[in-house]
């Protein structure tokens, strides 16, 4: 998909190589992209906080990374952000596919999604909701550079407006 390719090109331009992720339907084109390109080292983690720890270690070892997860996965990582990356001043880059809105069938996804932005705001973590391919490269490129320069995490939230949302969810709503 074009949006995924555009996103990955920005990562390449910024030398983001390690990609710890927890699988997700909407993230599939990104995961396929990093898996089929030797520039990237994708690693499938068992939990999202594990991926955050790995990215923190890689940063300290001199390799830049971005963690990919779904909204519900973000709900597993506030402690890792609050007790590791934020106080250590580690620029954790995150991309979160947004569920729970604009056509969600799962009540649990709807509830957990509401915790995401308040948690990010509470921790003082910059976040940008990406809604269209035209503005995405500017937002992502500038924000990655800002995160690294200021040694602070940043989260990119992939809106269904950009990705089309979860096809499974869409099918269930339409059935």
């Amino acid at each position: 998909m074009a949006w995924a390719e555009t996103f990955l090109n920005v990562l390449k331009d910024n030398d983001i190589r390690l990609v710890p992720y927890v699988p997700d339907n909407v993230l599939t084109p990104l995961i396929k992209g990093v898996t089929s390109d030797n520039f990237f080292q994708p690693i499938c983690a068992t939990r999202e906080d594990e991926a955050i720890g790995m990215a923190a270690g890689a940063w300290m070892g001199g390799v830049k990374s971005i963690v990919m997860m779904q909204t519900s996965g973000f709900a597993l990582i506030p402690n890792a952000l609050a007790s590791l990356t934020v106080p250590s001043q580690i620029p954790t880059l995150m991309v979160i596919s947004e569920r729970g809105t604009l056509g969600e069938f799962n009540i649990g996804q709807q509830l957990v999604a509401r915790t995401m932005r308040p948690v990010l705001d509470t921790l003082g973590i910059a976040h940008h909701t990406l809604t269209d391919e035209a503005t995405m490269p500017f937002i992502v490129d500038r924000s990655i550079k800002q995160a690294i320069t200021t040694q602070a995490p940043v989260a990119f939230i992939l809106s269904p407006l950009l990705t089309g949302g979860n096809p499974v969810a869409h099918a269930k709503l339409s059935a």
Binding site: L18, W59, G61, L84, Q89
Partner: protein, 201 residues
């Protein structure tokens, strides 16, 4: 688990381990007693001390190991903490970084929170778990002499390795400075990845 496994002391073994390091290996000290004893064994620039994020010792160590494949990386982790994140052992086995060594200090207790019994003190054999996860080189350490032999090796190859050690319930003997940004900065200096500048002299 064999019955002939001696109960040892974490501070003592940590000192022995640190004294054997020859190639600026990175050592990640897990939250609580694991990093307190690492600090007490004598600070070195390649030490990272975790002040939070329980369960992430091995993931952090794996990130360092992937970023610096020529450097040996050692994770010092407690039983309670690894029980919180057993899934990471599967990731380690799958990715198989040859320069990663994991040491599990197992006293079967959450020592630091009031000595509550952990699952490894009741039913769970952490070496069996690690082998089941796919880390073939997972071993119980039988006594201090065995530990000395096992750590007398190159850490940049032959991994991933997991060494599980039965330890007593002694608390950590040191107190790491509670400054995560300073710890991270010093660690990166030790790994050669910090921003260079005249501020450091």
């Amino acid at each position: 688990m064999s019955a002939a496994i001696k109960v040892m002391n974490r501070a003592d073994l940590t000192k022995r381990l640190v004294s054997k390091l020859k190639s600026d290996e990175a050592v990640i000290g897990g939250i609580g007693n694991a990093n307190f004893d690492l600090y007490a064994a004598g600070h070195r620039p390649q030490n990272f001390y975790m002040l939070g994020s329980m369960g992430l010792t091995v993931p952090i160590a794996m990130g360092v190991a992937l970023a610096q494949p020529e450097r040996g990386v050692i994770a010092l982790e407690g039983d309670g903490s690894i029980l919180m994140s057993l899934g990471c052992l599967s990731t380690v086995a799958t990715v198989a970084p040859r320069n990663l060594t994991i040491v599990i200090w197992d006293n079967g207790l959450y020592q630091i929170t009031g000595k509550q019994k952990s699952a490894t003190g009741a039913a769970t054999d952490i070496v069996a778990v690690a082998r089941g996860a796919g880390i073939a080189e997972s071993h119980w350490v039988t006594d201090e002499a065995h530990f000395e032999r096992l750590i007398e090796r190159r850490y940049d190859e032959g991994g991933p390795v997991l060494l599980a050690v039965k330890i007593d319930d002694a608390p950590g003997v040191g107190q790491t400075p509670r400054d995560p940004a300073l710890i991270r900065n010093r660690f990166m200096k030790g790994l050669g990845t910090s921003r260079a500048g005249d501020l450091d002299g």
